[in-house]
Amino acid sequence: MSTHPRHELDEIIHAPVRLSIVAALAAAEKADFRFLRDTIEVSDSLLSKHILTLEEAGYVHVNKTFVGKRARTWLSLTDRGRAAFQNYMDVLRRITEGTPHA
């Protein structure tokens, strides 16, 4: 008996906020923390919490820079994160298109 593809969904990505973060970073070379906050419409603390989860999973790279005294936090997907998102999207399409698991 084949396993339903939903069991293959990456639980780290398949959560509101984290999915939005990864989807935004997948389309971008890098994105500023404030851009993500405004796009996803979440608080700074909630966004930070989910970024930490993604960083610990090795999906997101965080780079803090300073322009004068002003700090900027840049986020980008790691190769591992990009591969995980690609795989996640493949599984998602299989589920929504009703394609049986190969």
């Binding site: 509101p16 796009t39 998602l92």
Partner: protein, 145 residues
């Protein structure tokens, strides 16, 4: 958005599409920037090499102001879309190459004051070629969805 509730697969796909669209839309600004710079390039070189006196000085100062504005705008951006960066790298190579040729011909090869008609046409043609990569990048960024 309620962070405690999970997405259904359909909701997840919709959210991915929404966020992807927001990142894509962020490249419209650079699209307009390339359009303005492309047109400015096509005007700048002929003015610098074919016009006399005050017009060249005005063009030089306008070009410096435009360069500062572009650098400031680019530096302040909050997101750098992947496709924008790919288009930008190819466009930059084409633009710098074409502009270098235009500068070399205008500054070192073409006779000056008065510039013969044939050379003037050549400089205008080179200026148009120089600005074309920017207009192409603008077209790519402003027309896609």
């Amino acid at each position: 958005m309620n962070a405690d509730e999970g997405f259904t697969p359909q909701q997840a796909l919709r959210e991915v599409g929404r966020v992807d669209g927001r990142v894509r839309d962020s490249s419209r600004g650079p699209g307009w920037m390339y359009l303005v710079t492309g047109v400015a390039t096509m005007i700048y070189w002929p003015v610098m090499f074919l016009a006399n006196g005050a017009a060249s000085v005005v063009a030089a100062f306008a070009w410096i102001a435009l360069t500062i504005a572009i650098c400031s705008y680019w530096w302040r951006r909050k997101v750098y879309e992947q496709r924008l960066m790919r288009i930008r790298s190819r466009m930059t190579i084409a633009y710098v190459s074409a502009s270098s040729v235009t500068f070399a011909v205008g500054a070192f090869v073409a006779p000056r004051h008065p510039t013969p008609t044939g050379w003037a046409v050549a400089i205008i043609a080179l200026a148009v070629i120089s600005g074309t990569p920017l207009l192409y990048a603008a077209w790519r960024l402003l027309t896609r969805r």
